[in-house]
């Protein structure tokens, strides 16, 4: 049991990274429009994030310092500031969407408009950041987020034609009525969602919060190899559920509420209860991750004391950044901006900014001054370099593609 609980950091990070509000909607929409023709992107994304998250965790365990902290020191203030600027903005958009996601999950249960729940959700996130220990936080929300496994159960209960699903996934083609640019746009959105930068910031900072050392490299691997593939599996289950139930009816996902339909159809009220719990926990967990990541990146850039392992009185500026971000995110959410649109833009913009996060990490993970004998092996470097090349291509084409396809419309 203790070993299982040891991987909750990876599970929480992956649930935030793979099934937060943006991913839930992006995966569900991909399934409803393209069936499983984009399943390969999830697998490519899982491999990429596994390679880089393992690197981030290893750097944190060996050096005792989080990714952003070392990037600032190794690459200098200017390069780190570009990274900080892009990451903080994207992270903030994600935080807006996650807080709205928590509010919508409560609305689906209570029937009371989500706008009323936004300040309550932001306050609750702040209270958890302020009062709850890091370890308890990751265990509670990481494990509750696993309720989203109900999508996999729903898929099995729906009794689909497995051969057809496998064929869709292994012979991807653009369905009639959809264009190749939209297909490519959704591919990039799913890839960007899988490799969101805040995942590595949160994961490496979490490793420092938990005082990982060189002795925890195996724990790092367990977190990465279990947590992220599990997140990818949840993404695929969500995609399959909407592909089976919604695609034949021509239903397009435009709201978080619509994601519940396949589970209702398959498992009824009990399944719905799990979905609502899972969406609440996943978005709440992602709000915690993004809220804390806002504080982590800024504090690590300026060299301030940071983290939940120090008392708030010893790290006032870190806590102030987290609080300020939460208040600002709640205020933006209260303007009734469409949270689904916010999150779609945030994952696409994050795709454009990915090399800024992953290139410095690759440099640091190869630096013997920081890593000693724990530098990257040849295999990891080859795969990571291939991914870096993909990230560069994605970064270049993302924005023009978003404009050309009107964000996949």
């Amino acid at each position: 049991m203790k070993k299982f609980l040891g991987v909750t950091l990876g599970i929480l990070t992956a649930i935030g990274g793979f099934v937060d509000i943006g991913d839930i909607v992006a995966n569900a929409e991909s399934g409803a429009r393209f069936g499983l023709a984009l399943a390969w992107v999830v697998i490519v994304g899982v491999v990429g994030i596994v390679i880089y998250a393992e690197m981030a965790g290893r750097v944190a365990a060996v050096s005792g310092r989080a990714t952003f902290d070392i990037v600032r020191e190794r690459l200098g203030a200017r390069a780190a500031f570009a990274n900080l600027f892009a990451s903080f903005f994207i992270n903030f958009l994600t935080l807006v969407a996650e807080i709205a996601g928590v509010a919508i999950a409560v609305q689906l249960l209570s029937g009371i408009d989500y706008l009323i729940w936004i300040p309550v959700a932001a306050f609750a996130v702040w209270m958890v950041v302020w009062r709850v220990r890091f370890e308890s936080m990751e265990r509670i929300f990481g494990l509750l987020g696993l309720a989203l496994i109900v999508f996999a159960v729903a898929v099995v209960k729906l009794g689909p034609d497995w051969g057809d699903l496998l064929h869709q996934a292994t012979h991807p083609s653009v369905p009639k009525g959809e264009g190749h640019p939209s297909y490519l746009f959704f591919a990039i959105a799913l890839f960007g969602a899988a490799m969101t930068p805040y995942e590595v910031f949160f994961f490496s900072s979490g490793a420092v919060e938990e005082h990982w050392s060189q002795d925890d490299l195996r724990l790092n691997k367990a977190n990465v190899y279990i947590g992220f593939p599990l997140g990818g599996l949840l993404s695929l289950a969500l995609m399959a559920a909407t592909a089976i139930v919604l695609q034949p009816k021509g239903i397009s996902i435009t709201h978080l509420s619509m994601v519940t339909l396949p589970v209702m159809e398959s498992l009824g009220k009990a399944g719905l209860a799990f979905v609502l719990l899972g969406i609440f926990a996943a978005t709440f967990g992602a709000a915690l991750e993004t809220g804390l990541s806002a504080g982590y990146t800024v504090a690590q850039f300026f060299g301030w004391p940071w983290g939940k392992f120090v008392r708030p009185r010893q790290a006032p500026r870190f806590y102030l950044v987290v609080l300020g971000s939460l208040i600002a995110a709640a205020l933006v959410g209260l303007t009734a901006v469409d949270p689904v649109k916010v999150t779609e833009y945030s994952i696409v913009l994050s795709a454009a900014a990915l090399p800024l996060t992953y290139f410095p990490l690759l440099v640091v993970a190869n630096d013997r001054d920081y890593m000693g004998d724990e530098v990257n092996g040849r295999f990891v470097n080859v795969v990571a370099t291939i991914y870096l090349a993909i990230l560069l291509v994605v970064a270049v084409i993302t924005i023009p593609l978003m404009i050309a396809t009107k964000a996949g419309a």
Partner: protein, 150 residues
Amino acid sequence: MSRPWLLAVVFLATGACAVPVPTARSAADYGKKAGHTAEDVHSAIETTVVALDNATHGRTLPTTLNVVVSDAEDDARGAMSTFQRIAPRGQGAGAIHDRLVPLLNDAADAITRARQLARRGQTSAGDVEPVTRRLAEIARALDDFANAQP
């Protein structure tokens, strides 16, 4: 603040507040946009039908049903309002407009009726059946319309 800067700020602020008016360059373009609108509203109708069916079979919570149907209604009315802001241009665009707009109105009204039933908790098969039948008729008509467009 110097005058050029002030003008730039005013220009950007005005631009940020402006809502872009959708346009169609030709009748074919108008037809394409009409087809997309029909598909969007068709999706909202099907969402409503699936949600009502789940309610009839006791597979959903009243609060969740309400939210799903309200969201579908917002989508249908949003798509209708966007389409109605596009000025028909070119030969044949007027006919497309005259054929689609009544369907969109019927769809929005039927979804509103479904939302009212959901709100009152009237989700027995007898209560829901006339509405779902009407929704199915409109969905078929929208489907035919969308398939006829370029």
